[in-house]
Amino acid sequence: MSFGELKGICVSYDNKNMILENLDLEIHKGELLSLLGPSGCGKTTTLRVIEGLMGTVGGTFILDGKDMTHVPVHDRGFGVVFQSYALFPHLSVRDNIAFGLKMRKEKNKELINEKVEKMAALTEITPYLDRFPKQLSGGQRQRVALARALVIEPKLLLLDEPLSNLDAQLRIQMRTTIKRIQQELGITTIFVTHDQEECFSVSDRVAIMDKGKIVQCDTPEAIYHKPANEMIARFVGFKNFYSADVYKDLGGTNGGSTLCCSRPSDFTINAANGIDGTIEVRTYLGSSYQYEVNTKHGFFTVVATEEKVYNIGDEIKLSISEDKTVIIGE
């Protein structure tokens, strides 16, 4: 049996419109599991159900063999990092981190201090322990929030878009930090994000959500190479979608009545067979060029290296090899 499991979770505000509908999700011990999807897909709601901050109208949540469905928030003992960090402004960094330990009726001050300092060292905030949240930068606050959630040695670490308030450079730095700490502590982590790159770079498994349901749950590699539907394919960078007939014209063989898709960089230009097209738009991407190619089957987005540069108006032939094409709903 798995470490944790959401089974048939239903959430609704008015018993008519379902925000989550029969949601099933398995949580493996020690993994970093991401919930990924566009805004409004129910990923934050799912996290809130796990946190215990959102009531359900049906379903169960089992963790480590224990039914957690009706356990109140303050008895769950999960570490939560909120999007706004939600630090206590009236407490110093030290007291912020110690808050959870004090709530656990830990009386031994030395033990509290020891744990706080160990966690501060791990999250690299030792110099700021006696400051107040207002005196910290966004990245530092994020680390304090992480330390505060981790110091209680939670069974689950829950992160709700923890990086969305940071600038681009800090995001990359912080996600590496989160991954490093997660691996060091071996803590089971659930990470909510709408950023596909961020999510794939750190996750062991990704659950992609859409309209209150999980549409695919697998390793990042599996999702990247074999998206389950068109929405996911678009999410992971597939730009060209076409029918099986077009696929045959492009050089493919089977396909039946299904939808095929391919990434812009997977096309071969000017091979023996293929579809004729005219280049209409060219954009420079740094090490490559992206072309919008007009064919009798509509527009294709193609990326090619700088080796051979084509001009607007050039007539080219597009083809694709079978291993580069993904057939959806096979």
Partner: protein, 271 residues
Amino acid sequence: MKKTTYFLFLIVPMILVVGALLLPLVGSLLPTFLQPSEYVRFFQDEYNRTIFYRSIRLSLITTVLCILLGLPTSYWLSLLSEKKRRLLNSLILFPLLTNAVVRGFAWITILSKNGIINQALKAIHLPTIQLLYTDAAIVIGSVYLFLPVMVNTLSPVMENIGSETIEAAHTLGAKPVVVFLKVVLPLSFSGLLIAGVMVFAGSISAYTTPTLLGGNKKMMLASLLYQQTNALSNWDAASRIAFIMLICSLGVQKLFSIISKKVDRREAQNV
């Protein structure tokens, strides 16, 4: 905008503040300072002392009751949805919208000898109690009057705490009562100070409600002041009472800010 332009905008309010607030205040208080012995004489009079202590006592009780009732109410309001909160907030304002005399007489019909409460006691064959013209009546009327001030001052403070901060405390193992004591209370303390001073200053200087509900037996400083001006035309004595009331309010404000600085270290640390 340039600094000078800002200054131009400030001229009118400044004239108003000096002309309409400071000048009358100084003008009426200054003569009393020329006879400081009169202040001593005021406190030597036992009748005056009783009224002074009663005013302080009842105003403090009113303030404490308003805090005890208003704090949980405004916290509870802040947890509601926006729509419900707005509706309830405007309902809470209702007592402030009715006329003070009407409000006073409404309480008289409830508290008097043949009022609703005593009628009910009679109906179940219990002895009636004297409610009207007691300290309790003044406190009840004042709390009714100033609770909306307390709740409406605290509500935005509570909303500013932010739901995620409260949720964070819950996830760290704090039970609802503990969240209130360890997070909500310290974070709303500065607002509590302002609201408390407003309620105290309001109830020590209130005239209509204490006069109607306290009668002649249970006078407050404001009623005494009214007596000095309208019945005795002793303007200096009235000014002295006003000054004493002002000092009391300032004293309470100072007291509250000392407590607040001890509890809420947020601002002090923020150099």
